[in-house]
């Protein structure tokens, strides 16, 4: 009988790209539930629109690149799910459309598509939308006011706590409401408790590691502690800074994007810390009330430097460590050769 051969190992773990992406999709669903609870079914419309647009853009770009469209790995859908969560619930459909198109067709596919993009597509698209429509991207609807499917001028839009922080004033919302998400802000960025639950879920599922989010939040809070913007008690100020804007949702979803983050543990910590510190620092300098996405993009550009630096470090440690210098035992090379020969 003739059998198909294949290189060792002959058993594989059950985890796959599909399961990882499915975990992230599952983690976004509670946020959409909360958004429906606060803003009505328009949240679902936005999410579905984003998913459809970005998946179709993904497939179309793959067709243009001459490959068979493979949207099974759900990466485009994840991008489309994340973009509305980063924008206000009153975002117009053209905003979502442009953000998704920019994220997929500019920030992802020209770089070679899945797994090769340097910048996080969701972050890039949302940043582009924010720059194109600064007014409507930073004006948020009030929770518990049902939004119509088509937002018109009758909808009451207010500014977010992040804006009042950027003006140097303490938000007039108490911390518990911000914790529960009963505060104007990005559609998915406000309900902190749900976000932390999602983070715990992802960490338990081992889809993301603990290192980067912890280092990110640590860096952000340290920066906020050192350079306070409001004259409140220090811890209160730090809590306000952390819970306003996109920091927490970024710590859950955007920082942990496996493609655009370093690989070894120490570089991961460095990257997370740097991103947190940078985004907090530019809340002082920048004009926009939210600087996390831009800081993330800048840090994405430095990931390759960080990775090579980490490889240098590991190289030096191996050189120092005697144990790794001994030659491999006799059996394995033989089996390698046989495996290669069989192939």
């Amino acid at each position: 009988m003739k059998l198909r051969t294949q290189n060792p190992p002959h058993i594989r773990s059950r985890e796959s790209s599909l399961t990882m992406m499915t975990d992230i999709v599952i983690a976004t669903l509670p946020l959409y539930a909360m958004a429906v609870y606060y803003y009505g079914t328009r949240a679902l419309l936005l999410g579905g629109f984003g998913v459809i647009v970005s998946s179709m853009a993904d497939g179309a770009c793959q067709l243009l690149a001459g490959r068979i469209p493979n949207i099974r790995d759900l990466s485009g859908a994840v991008t489309g799910l994340l973009i509305p969560l980063l924008l206000p619930a009153s975002a117009s459909y053209s905003m979502i459309l442009l953000a998704a198109l920019f994220g997929i067709a500019v920030a992802k596919q020209p770089f070679g598509g899945m797994g090769q993009n340097i910048f996080n597509p969701a972050a890039a698209g949302t940043a582009f939308a924010m720059i194109c429509w600064p007014k409507s991207a930073f004006a948020y609807p009030v929770p518990f006011e049902r939004l119509p499917a088509m937002v018109d001028d009758t909808v009451r839009l207010v500014s977010s706590p992040a804006y009042s922080l950027s003006l140097g004033g303490t938000p007039n919302i108490d911390l518990l409401d911000m914790l529960l998400g009963n505060a104007p802000g990005p559609m998915g960025g406000t309900n902190i408790l749900v976000l932390l639950t999602c983070l715990i879920f992802l960490i338990v599922r081992k889809t993301v590691g603990l290192a980067m989010p912890a280092a990110f939040l640590g860096g952000a809070s340290l920066m906020a502690l050192l350079t306070p913007r409001v004259d409140a008690p220090a811890l209160t100020a730090v809590a306000y800074e952390l819970m306003s804007g996109l920091l927490v949702i970024g710590a859950v979803f955007l920082i942990n994007d496996p493609v655009t983050s370093p690989k070894r543990t120490l570089p991961k910590i460095f990257y997370g810390f740097g991103t947190g510190a940078l985004s907090m620092a530019f809340r002082h300098i920048g004009r926009y009330e939210e600087s996390f996405l831009f800081a993330l993009l800048v840090m994405n550009a430095t990931v390759w430097i960080i990775d090579v630096w980490g490889e240098h470090l590991a190289h030096a440690m191996r050189r120092k460590n005697r144990e790794f210098k001994t030659n491999p035992p006799v059996s394995e090379p033989a089996e390698q050769d046989v495996g290669a020969a069989q192939k």
Binding site: F111, G112, I118, I131, L293, I305
Partner: protein, 195 residues
């Protein structure tokens, strides 16, 4: 203390906020061809910093004196070019005398240094700052340019490992990379730059 803080502000803003490459795209076409190694980038930045820093001193004094006249608007550029030429020639000769030059810089690289220094000098003059800040501005802007070039170089190294779509290989993907980076920088700063 206050002085130091203001100086630091000038340095940081010139290096990051008014970054020559990302915010103004000055020298991009040279950089695209010529980011060969980190060492070269450092030398490039140092050269631009020294040349522009030395050049801006007499120019600042000149613009203080002739700033009102209408012909100065034209004479400024010409004077800057000539001064940069003189300073860079002196620098080259000095380094050659010190024996620091193994092989002379290629002409195109010299051109890149020229245009970078020219841009720095003219910008620091249009900003109408005091004397010391404008010199600091030159150093900071050159440092920012070098940092931007390092980022671009790292990006190209990373892009070598990607299986890019064929039409995008080389220049186009680098341009898109720089574009997204400058989007990020612009968002961090968040205001339109005066040209």
């Amino acid at each position: 203390m206050n002085l130091i803080v203001s100086m630091l502000t000038v340095l940081v803003s010139s290096a990051v906020i008014e970054n020559l490459l990302f915010a103004r795209a000055i020298g991009a076409d040279h950089i695209l061809r010529q980011t060969r190694s980190y060492r070269f980038i450092i030398e490039f930045g140092l050269g631009a910093a020294v040349i522009s820093g030395v050049t801006v001193m007499p120019l600042w004094w000149l613009s203080q004196t002739f700033g009102r006249e209408s012909w100065w608007n034209y004479a400024r550029s010409m004077a800057a070019v000539l001064l940069i030429a003189v300073v860079s020639l002196l620098l080259t000769i000095a380094m050659a005398a010190a024996g620091r030059i193994q092989k002379p810089m290629r002409l195109v690289d010299q051109g890149a240094v020229y245009s970078a220094s020219l841009a720095v000098v003219l910008l620091s003059l249009t900003a109408k700052m005091a004397f010391l800040p404008s010199v600091l501005y030159c150093f900071g802007a050159s440092a920012g340019l070098a940092a931007a070039m390092i980022l671009v170089h790292a990006g190209r190294e990373r892009l070598e490992l990607c299986v890019l779509p064929r039409p995008f290989e080389g220049l186009p993907i680098t341009m898109i990379y720089i574009g997204i980076l400058s989007l990020a920088i612009y968002g961090l700063i968040g205001h339109q730059l005066p040209t």
